[in-house]
Symmetry: D2
Subunit: 306 residues, 4 copies
């Protein structure tokens, strides 16, 4: 039975993601993303599950930066999890009693309509995570009357669910990834995604255009691009890319080799099955067979007829 670290405490959406990705796994809650990943790096866990991006809030930058700069880890799976917020209170609290709500800033934004409509007089205070908010509200002397968090957090900390689905949109989704210490990529399935990080060789104006052209020329579609600061001053960035296809695909291999040639460094984060099950549209001339045929042709013209 594998042991997997996750962004805790118990009751986070990440724990829910872990349950789905690896129902049999032993779950090891960690204080933050870095701690969860370190547990995997040091062998205290066999891997970790962490959030990567949210359809409303965007990238989880801690995860991006840890994967880019920390001891290398490989992504082996992803999961898209709808995020459903509940209004959680200590048993006995009624709607009219709520003066102060504690939750993560993302949830403040996502539940603005509900709080404005149902709790117009209440103050909403920012917490480090939704589960931490639930944990805090569960304390007897807490200055907060309610938390907005996942229902599972309420279960974990003994809170009651006063209202379910209090988010403004019902289609908010968080993308989680499972990582492990570096190993061979997962087997290609025909519906795969590849993640990598690229550090520019020199930060000239057209650098991003050049990187995108490396992908476009081989017909490789990007599904996500994030710029992150290198830490060397405003205006210096590195890039996270998610792309359609598997590193074993010829077009992906040639594209990222090209990226590797023009960049100071490219870190391969893994190829793994797509959670949405979509297959890439393969542009004329970029299927594996086309590359094999072209390589044979090149080999023939390099040798010449005998």
């Amino acid at each position: 039975m594998p042991k997997l670290a996750y962004l805790g405490p118990k009751g986070t959406f990440t724990e829910e993601a872990l349950r789905i990705l690896a129902p049999e796994a032993e779950r090891l809650p960690s204080a933050n993303v870095g701690a969860a990943l370190d547990a995997a790096r040091r062998g205290e866990a066999d891997g970790a599950v962490v959030p990567l991006e949210n359809s409303l809030e965007g990238a989880i930058t801690t995860t991006l930066d840890e994967l880019a700069w920390g001891e290398p880890l490989s992504i082996t799976a992803e999961l898209l999890l709808p995020v459903e917020f509940s209004l959680l209170v200590r048993p006995g609290t009624r709607l009219g009693d709520i003066k102060r709500i504690f939750t993560h800033p993302a949830a403040i934004t996502q539940c603005r309509n509900f709080t404005a409509r149902e709790l117009p007089g209440a103050v909403v205070v920012a917490a480090p995570s939704t589960a931490a908010a639930a944990q805090e509200v569960a304390l007897p002397g807490s200055p907060y009357d309610a938390a907005i968090a996942a229902r599972i957090a309420g279960d974990n900390y003994g809170l009651a669910e006063l209202a379910a689905n209090v988010g403004d949109r019902s289609d908010t989704v968080t993308r989680f990834v499972r990582v492990s210490r570096p190993g061979p990529p997962t087997e290609p399935t025909g519906s795969d995604r590849t993640s990598l990080v690229a550090f520019l060789a020199d930060d000239h104006p057209g650098a991003l255009l050049e990187m995108l052209t490396e992908f476009a020329v081989r017909g490789v579609n990007l599904t996500r691009i994030e710029s992150r600061p290198t830490g060397d001053g405003i205006g210096r960035y590195f890039f996270h890319f998610d792309l359609e296809g598997h590193v074993a695909d010829a077009r992906v291999g040639e594209a990222i080799s090209g990226l590797h040639r023009i960049c100071a460094d490219v870190r391969f984060l893994g190829s793994y099955p797509r959670a949405d099950g979509l297959s890439p549209q393969i542009k004329r001339g970029t299927a594996d067979g086309d590359f094999t045929e072209a390589a044979d042709w090149l080999s023939r013209i390099r040798t010449g007829p005998v």
Copy 2:
């Protein structure tokens, strides 16, 4: 004397930025970025100062999203402010007394070497902002022994500075912008930056490449690009661009008109003097005179000789 809202409470790095950008202004602290911007929108303040990005932590996504989706505001100035962290305690606390440190997650990352070296046994807990951490530590019954925050926050809340410059890097910089209700852009200075937000018409694979090509063809250099989720599901993004030059420049005007034509929407956030004072390198054929001359030529050939 103008009144400017800022990301408070008193003692934040943002207040320091405001003091430099507008020494004479009355300062109105706000609970968060959204509140500061709303104060400007509703006329409770003449404008606001908010952080936009940090050389270590990256974009302040709340600011990006507020500027993209909220009631329109114009950026009229920017400032680069070195970020110097201090270890702040209630008077009388000594280094050996510190068991629990409270600070913003960005500061946790940025001061990791100091805390590991000087306070190896201490627990570091995440706070919503560095100034909020100082405010909390200043409370008599606070469970935290120290805050990591700007010195000014210590001054504001009566804390003592146990150590200065506890950040791992001395060159961390935050970029702040001053915004006001929409009005004419600031006068071109020859060293200007333009900010805008672009929403894709349809999210096809080459869309970002096409947008970048609109800039490249007119010789307009980008200094920042950020992708942000539209909220319509994983894989759907809009983009923030900062570019060299002023909207009054012919090459900038044609480039962003081109962007406007191919996008569902482009929101112009303003043209304003660059904090670094750099002038753009102007590619052959893209100076204002070149555009005027080309427009005259086109006009002549469209009419033909008489």
Copy 3:
């Protein structure tokens, strides 16, 4: 009644093109393309009709170079004319008598199957033009027994048509243009073509790619591209472009203005109705209305709200 010069002598395919383009015109044969164009330039004719390209042989380089370097002329119309070759002989000559055939090298290529099959023993000799070949064969003491040329040439010089349609392909087409001294472009019809010549500012490796990108960014499709030597040594070229649309179209205007900005020189050769009657496919965001709307938008953001 206009007088038009053409590539003579009487009986050329060009004369046939002129008859169709301007049935009422007085026809002035010229010894070669340069002479026909000079007649128009000097006012000895009101214009000229000359061949520009052939679907089998390619560009008529003399025409291209005359239009690029000579005193400026404007293209005002084009015509696509199927080229049908006839085997022409002095009356009385029979197939078995033919030992030496005289014709233009293009016709030698295009009628190779016929001559190999029907006249395997005959020698085929190169003539400066097909009509000149017919003229020569018509001379009593000619060393040639047959000409391959347009039927009209046979009529003009009193030759008999021994065989019609002796070309290997029935779909060979020549494109002719009518030119006149520079004047206002013809009115847009919705199915127009624009021709121009571009001279590079400096002959760097990516120059052609940059020129093509100026067109692509504005959604302007090229229908023909020809490189021609500048005369300054091997490896130095200028370019002829034909493109879809009229100089009055916003997207065409902006594209060729962009070309003008990055080139040493651009010579506009004219906008005129397409012979094939096709309408351009207009890419999203590149219709005239899109440009007007974008210009209004730019104007608004440059001024700002009042």
Copy 4:
């Protein structure tokens, strides 16, 4: 001693090129380019020397089309030969006697200043080649008084040189190539050129831009591009490319493999030493070592650590 066919008759500039390229070779004059190439194809000669382009007149389209469509041949060498025209007459003819000059149309253009200045009353008539003009003028009953051709042609046909260097420019150059039946490419020298022909898969608007991007992405510079009609109607072209580097170079190999993948057909015409001895400028990341290193990297990430 190899036997090489060439574009004759004796005395052409091509014969001069052959003497320089292969001083020891037996020379076999051919009536036209096609015949010279056919001699090589059929084994009647060991190879052929033909003109490919002229710095004033442009491509020799017969050569281009023969190399593209005919039985395959390989280019193994190239030569740049300055073209110097002489005014050649039957012995005894004086300048004042010259009424009719016979020469190739290219020479008519290139010697226009001389003929206008020295022979203002003379008629200049087009001949199929300059050597053919000399041959014709040498006939006792020739209607022509002078030929403009290479001095060697005068020597061959017993003409006298009335004036040397009668061309308007002293720097006109013709590029000749030596071809042979297909075999292994020549050894890379560090200063090589590669020639090929590309047939489009489908003739969509951006096709040429896509082809050029295949080269640009791998840092391969083009030195020549020619469009030629496919014969399938106006507006349908194929392309000749000359590029810097040898097919054995990694960047050239990957670029032309990419071209091969997106085209209906690519015909490799050969890699051979450049006549100008220039070395390519190698863009960052495109040297052979960069490709080897990137391939190793790709191989490592595809396998993963063990």
